[in-house]
Subunit: 179 residues, 2 copies
DNA sequence: TGTTCTCCATACATATATGTATGGAAATGT
DNA sequence: ACATTTCCATACATATATGTATGGAGAACA
């Protein structure tokens, strides 16, 4: 009989951790509070993870997977004007998890390393995209930097953009990209 | 005889707090650890501040003063091409305190409020600058958003920019500003 | 000189979090 | 049925941080 009912898996803990991280920041990644939110004791936590450091590592690795998966989806979709749809997806969404991880990375070396790894991949893709759009290679790097900076700033500021606002912003961004 | 020697003032605590904030993030703003770093006991802390919440508020207010002071300096200097010198100052510097406060603001409502207040003032100034540079007012807002986002992204990423890199980036930024 | 006020140390109570040790219930394998 | 493995609860020891209560050393003031 498969009555696994309420028993938790390692991924359940990671899921709860990512949720807490997105909602309340890295300070919420405690075995104690997470156990309470999951309705279990810390005995479960220390069964699935050696210590909080290992849990944090697992959280970061899980986030990297998610971030990388997003890159793959962006690469796959949008055959026509890929940059425009990419920017739209990146700038029109609210990204509390991304924001929390980056805030975390300002103080935690391991989070910082993960973030830098993801940044490198993303910028590489954007730069390739610009070059495919006939932007001179020597200008593509600096433009990519600015566009990616703007994305990070948008993520950090967490402000909602209305549709008419986005239209104006998108125009300026595309102008910057392929001017 | 004025032998006040080693006695601390309220501003000494704030100074140590801002230092710890810039170096280690908001998690370092504890009465306990700061007292150790200052070589005193927490008795001193609770003499100058009612509780940690009041200390945090004072830290944020102090930061707001510093941030506003920076705006004033930017307004005062650079009569010629103000935008270029403004961008140079903003993007060529490493700003660990600004970075720490903004990371803090992602999780702390009071920090978030302070940050939004400073953001509004800064963007207002930049937008005015663009309009003075003959940018159409209806386009100035969205360009200001992008430029300010890029600034925030640069602050967050904390990467060092070499001089030749900066020249290329500055060209693209100015092109975006007054295209 | 004596008093008052400033600033800080010490001690205490409390809260929260970590990590370990031990045992137990339920599912799984034999 | 029995043993084993998985997963979790409980209890304990420890660490760190908050906030308060009390007193004391020293500067400022009269």
């Amino acid at each position: 009989m498969d009555m696994k009912a309420d028993r938790l898996t390692c991924r359940d803990w990671l899921k709860a951790g990512l949720r807490a991280l997105a909602e309340s920041g890295a300070a919420a990644l405690k075995a104690d509070s997470l156990a309470k939110s999951l309705g279990v004791s810390r005995g479960s936590f220390y069964w699935h993870f050696a210590d909080v450091g290992a849990f944090h590592d697992a959280i970061l690795q899980r986030w990297q997977q998610i971030a990388f998966q997003n890159i793959v989806e962006e690469l796959a979709g949008a055959p026509g004007d890929r940059l425009e749809s990419l920017l739209s997806r990146a700038f029109r969404a609210d990204s509390p998890l991304e924001r929390a991880v980056r805030a975390w990375a300002t103080a935690e070396p391991r989070a910082k390393a993960m973030v830098e790894s993801v940044d490198t991949k993303r910028r590489f893709y954007v730069e390739k995209l610009l070059i495919e759009m006939a932007v001179p290679p020597e200008r593509a790097a600096s433009r990519t930097r600015i566009i990616y900076w703007a994305y990070l700033g948008h993520v950090l500021s967490a402000e909602k953009i209305s549709s008419p606002e986005w239209n104006a912003i998108a125009n300026e961004l595309l102008l910057l990209a392929r001017a």
